[in-house]
Structures are given as structure tokens and as C-alpha cells.
């Protein structure tokens, strides 16, 4: 799937995603111990020890219902948090990203996945997402313009905490 990192398209994604199926954790051995592995929240909870013992990078994928407090104590072990956008109308991920960055001080990659399209890229970026995964049929080079469509920021956010009156 096309991937944008730091407002640029990247060709290589080092991460492999393994999803649980109906609550049953996937087979972790299918991914090399040294490669970067992204798992969902239920897998992370079930196989935490095993996951933390791997040598590759570890990422967790959460949805809008996730309680970030439960993630907070393991956050320094993670290099990636993927936040799922289930639909174009759902905006929980924006607040989750801000809490991760501003409140929990997470410095790793925050990746938007799911319903990720042109018209939300700029707000995602502003809220602390540095990576966006876009489905093939909605991707175009042109969409990178989204980041520059509006250059004025009235509010502080994760990209720049200063509201306009402090800039």
C-alpha cells in the first residue's frame, strides 16, 4: 500500500503487519525475529513477553476504542503506533494521536491506517501523525499538495504547539 512518511512518498515499508483472527493471536514465527513487526492490540496483550523479547522493532495497531493509558507503560518499547480510521467521518484518531504525542510524549512513528485520503492528511500531520498509509485506489502524487493547502495555523497542535498568538 502506498505510504507517506514526513510528507514524502516512500517506496519501502519495513513493517509487517500480523493481525489476530477472532481474538486468536497470529503465528509470530512467520516473521523474522529481526524485522519490524506490527501487531494489533489483542495480540500485543496476549503475547507481550514474546514480542518484547524479539530483536526487531515493535509496533501496535489500535482502534478508536483503545484506552491509551493501558498502552502508556509499554510505550518506550514501541517504535510505531498505528491508529485506525474506520471511516471518513470518524475523528477519534486525531485526539488519540495528540494524546500520544503531547501527553504521553511518544516519539516513535504514528501511522494513520484505514480510511486515509487526501482531505485529512494535513490535519493528521498537524495532530502528530508522521506516516499515512493510503489505499492504492485513492493514492496519487498530487495528494501531497494537501500538506500545503493552508499555510496558516490558528491553533497549536502536535506539529507546532503555539497558537497564532504565540507564533
Amino acid at each position: 500500500m502506498p505510504l507517506i512518511i514526513d510528507q514524502q512518498p516512500v517506496q519501502q515499508d519495513s513493517w509487517t503487519y500480523l493481525a489476530s483472527e477472532e481474538g486468536v493471536a497470529p503465528d509470530l514465527s512467520s516473521v523474522a525475529d529481526s524485522s519490524d513487526l506490527l501487531v494489533d492490540w489483542s495480540c500485543f496483550q496476549q503475547c507481550k513477553e514474546q514480542l518484547l523479547g524479539r530483536s526487531g522493532g515493535l509496533g501496535v495497531r489500535i482502534d478508536g476504542f483503545a484506552n491509551l493509558d493501558e498502552l502508556s507503560c509499554d510505550l518506550d518499547q514501541l517504535s510505531l503506533v498505528a491508529i485506525e480510521f474506520p471511516s471518513f467521518a470518524d475523528g477519534r484518531g486525531f485526539s488519540q494521536a495528540r494524546l500520544l504525542r503531547d501527553s504521553l510524549g511518544f516519539a516513535g512513528q504514528i501511522r494513520a491506517v484505514g480510511d486515509v485520503t487526501w482531505d485529512r492528511l494535513r490535519f493528521m500531520h498537524r495532530c502528530g501523525f508522521d506516516a499515512m498509509e493510503v489505499s492504492e485506489d485513492r493514492y496519487s502524487e498530487d495528494m501531497l499538495k494537501a500538506f500545503g493547502e493552508i499555510e496558516v495555523r490558528l491553533q497549536g497542535a502536535a506539529d507546532d504547539p503555539r497558537p497564532i498568538y504565540r507564533q
Binding site: 470518524d90 475523528g91 486525531f94 494524546l99 487526501w118 482531505d119 491553533q155 497564532i164 498568538y165
Partner: protein, 552 residues
Amino acid sequence: MYLYNEREQQLIEQRVEQYRDQTRRYLAGEIPDEEFRILRLQNGLYIQRQAPMLRIAINYGLLSSRQMRALAQVSRDYDKNYAHFTTRQNVQLNWPELEKVPDILADLAKVQMHAIQTSGSCIRSVTSDHFAGIVAGEVEDPRPWSEIIRQWAALHPEFAYLPRKFKIAVSAAEEDRAATQVHDIGVHIVRNDQGEVGFEVLVGGGLGRTPVIGKQIRPFLEQQELLSYLEAILRVYNLHGRRDNKYKSRIKITVNAMGIDKFRELVEAEFERTRGGELRLPEAEIERVKAFFKAPDYEQFDGDDASYLSELEQDKDFAIWVERNSFAHKVPGYRAVTLALKALLKAPGDITDVQMDAVADLADKYSFGEVRSTHEQNLVLAHVKQSDLYSLWKALSELELARPVVGTLNDMICCPGLDFCSLANAETLGVAEQIQNRFDDLDYLYDLGEMKLKMSGCINACAHHHVGHIGILGVDKNGESYYQFTLGGSAAEDASLGKVLGKSIPKEQVAEMLEKILSVFVEQREEGERFIDTVRRVGNVPFKERVYATNH
């Protein structure tokens, strides 16, 4: 009046171009319908029954004469030579073409107007008291604070996809003209025991399917932390508000389901974390915004103007208009004037391009070039010299903007209903007409005293019928428009929700029903009592007995 600086101007211009590109991509088939629906709503564009409808923001109801002329111009260039003022102080064009909307917005941006967040599931434009800055006894002018909130809310990256629409109102006077108790957040500017000015914050009020009066979440909030606190409320709502059911997604439901104490706990925890941070308002910023709302250069008068007093003596019609349609100003020698957009046989809130241009000229001549729009779908010229009132009255009479009905039954609030709104269950405009025709005896209306009649064409309650002294709700019965009455609601400082009177009635009986209700009122009324107070005293029963009595 607040003026955008270069960067704020750049923001609204870039927003127009962004929207132009969204429209282009939509028409090219690159954005699916459902997505474009959300995008266009965030920029004020509804698709109505007959045509798109564009809602343009008038922040806290304040307009310059220049902006008024621009509205007249766009209504000529792109619409059918009229516009419609709404209950949230905004203005709507009922017939724009979807393809032309970017051009309309570009024209409006030249006079610092826009349609940012006038609809959709985001923070809507902020409303306030239309007599802000001129009422005696106001703690502080609420407009600078409304503007500060507006700036924070405009294109806020975190809150553009909320569970549902989110409305904030600000008020600072004893009389609440902004309906703050039925908003998602109501901000009251108050003074505490130490004499400091800050905010009482209400949360979770609202109308619609489940009407609720807002609850106090914080009795006193320090001024500088206004935005940190609002952001904390919005963040909690954005994360916890329901998204699975449109009818349960407003913050009032979140607050009720969780309980106000639990909700407060979450908000306060978030606030504790962020207060004192970058969002804290520096004194200089508060002062900067306040400087835009300085009082105009009033002339000094000792007492009342002599010519005005004699005109009042000599011309009874003028005296009635002054009594009905003008309001005391805190500066001696001035009054605020309400322009009633309640012409006979026209939708409440409608105004033609010719009237708009004329109002702009009158504003320049008599009121420092400023016009205000009200929650009650009227306009206000806020600073008129007593000595100018007579000529202003003459001019307004010619424009048909001087009907002395403000505060009466005929000053009703009414949504567009079936004629224009795709969500409507019933007609409203024809019913408004029926009522106006039946109650055309002004003396009778005056005798009835203060009366707030509000009529919505469906349960979405855009005309706030639950908080009308008399509320009328249009419902659909097998394809026919029927009407349900509620009595005893109020949106003012004594806010309450009206109670349903009984079963709904067909369209042709509405005026008759009102007549019966009013006859009971006249019988039951104690000397000088307002309708709402009589209803509160005697309850719905006497009314019910009369209106539903079967003819033997």
C-alpha cells in the same frame, strides 16, 4: 468589529481554494459522494430538497455595512435576490449552484466573510448576545471572547470530525439572549466574589430529538484558561461521544450517559494536564482582541432629545414602533433598533437584496456602519441617536422593515420546513402565513404581552420549538403535515422545556388552535402576567381541556 490581519485573511482565501479543489475533484469523480458530503458540510453547503443551500457565517451576529452589501451582491449574482437569516445568527442562500459555490466564497472572502464550519459535525460558528456591548449591567462585552473562541475553533485539526455538530454560545448579561442553556457549551461571563471576571461553563444542553438543559461543569474558570478548558471538553467528547447512532451522538447524551460528575472528572483531568501551557491566553492577546470591540465615538447627550420626545407625543405609530422595536442603550441619547424580518407573507428571516443594500446605507448613516443579526431572525442597528429615530423609522417603514411586532406572536421563529429543507416532515412557511393572517390585529398582540412562538418542520428542532413559550412541531401523518404543540418552554435565563399539549392537528387548524390557547390565557391570566408565567402557574390542563374539547 474584528478585522482579519494578513495571515487570517490568507487563511480564509486558502480555504476557498482548498474547497474549490475539493469541488473540482468531486465533479471529476475522484471523491465519493459520502466523503464530499462531509467536506461540503464543513464549508456550509447542504443539498436541499430543491437546490443546494449555502450557509454563510456571521460570527456572533456582527456584520459591517460593507459585508451586508457583499451579501446583497452575491444574492443578485448567484441566487434569487434574497437571503435568509437563521436562528444561529448566520445567513443562508437558498439557490446557489454547487459549481459556483467556490466563486461565491471567493467574493465573500474579499470582505472577510466565509462559510467555515457553518454545518457538519464540527465546532459551529459561535453565537452571542445581539445586544452585546450596549446593555447596561453586562459583566463584560462577550464579543471579544466569542472571537477568541472562533479563532481557536476555525479549522482546528483535531475537532473537524466530531461525533456530531457542536455549538457554543457566549453571554454576559442577566438576560440570556443567546440561549446558552440549550447549547453544547454555554459560556457565561461572570464575576466571582473576589471581583475577578471569568466564566461559568455549562455543557450538554441542546434541543432536537432529546431536548436537555445544559448542566454546569465549572462554576468559575479563570479567563486565561478559557481555551484550555474548551479543548479539554472537546477532546473528551471526541473520544467518548457515540458514533454508532446519529441520534445518540450529541454531547448531551454523552454527559447524561456518563453522568455530569464522571464527565467533569475526565475533563478536569485533561485540563489539569494542559492548563498553564501554550493555550493559555496571554494578557496581551486578550487586550489585542478587545481593542477591536471598543465603543464607537458616541456623542454626549444630557438626557433625552427634545425633538424625539415631541415626535413620540405627536405620532402614535412612531411611539408604538419605538416601544416595540427598539431597546434601551446604556449610553444616554441612544437606542438600539430591531429591524423585523417578519414581513407579512414572507418566510421569517428573509430579506431581499434591495433591503440589504438599504440596510447597509442606513447602518452607515445612523449606526456607525454596523449591523447585527439576532437569534430571533431579525436585524439590529445597535447605536442610533434618539434624534435620528424618526427618520430611521420612516426609512424602515418604506422598506417594510418596521412592522412593530418584535416580541409578539408574529415575531415567530420558524425554520424553512418542507419548502426548502430535505429533512422536513411538514410545511412551516404556509403555516406561518396562516398565523400572521389570523393575528393581524396588533393591539390584540400587544395585549398578549411577551410571546415567543417557535415552529420547526421536524424533530431536528432548528427553530427551537421546545423552548418557545408556544412551540409548534411539524410531523408527518400519512404524507400530510400535522402539528404538535408544546407550552411553557423558554430559552432565556429561566430556561425550561415546553410540555406537549396533546395529539397533533392538521394544518388548517393551527391558527384556530392558537386562538383557543390564547383565549384560555386571557381568561386565566393575572394582571400583567406573561403567557409563560401563566402556563407555569396553571399548567397545561386548562389549555388541554379547551383545545381538545369535543363539540357536542
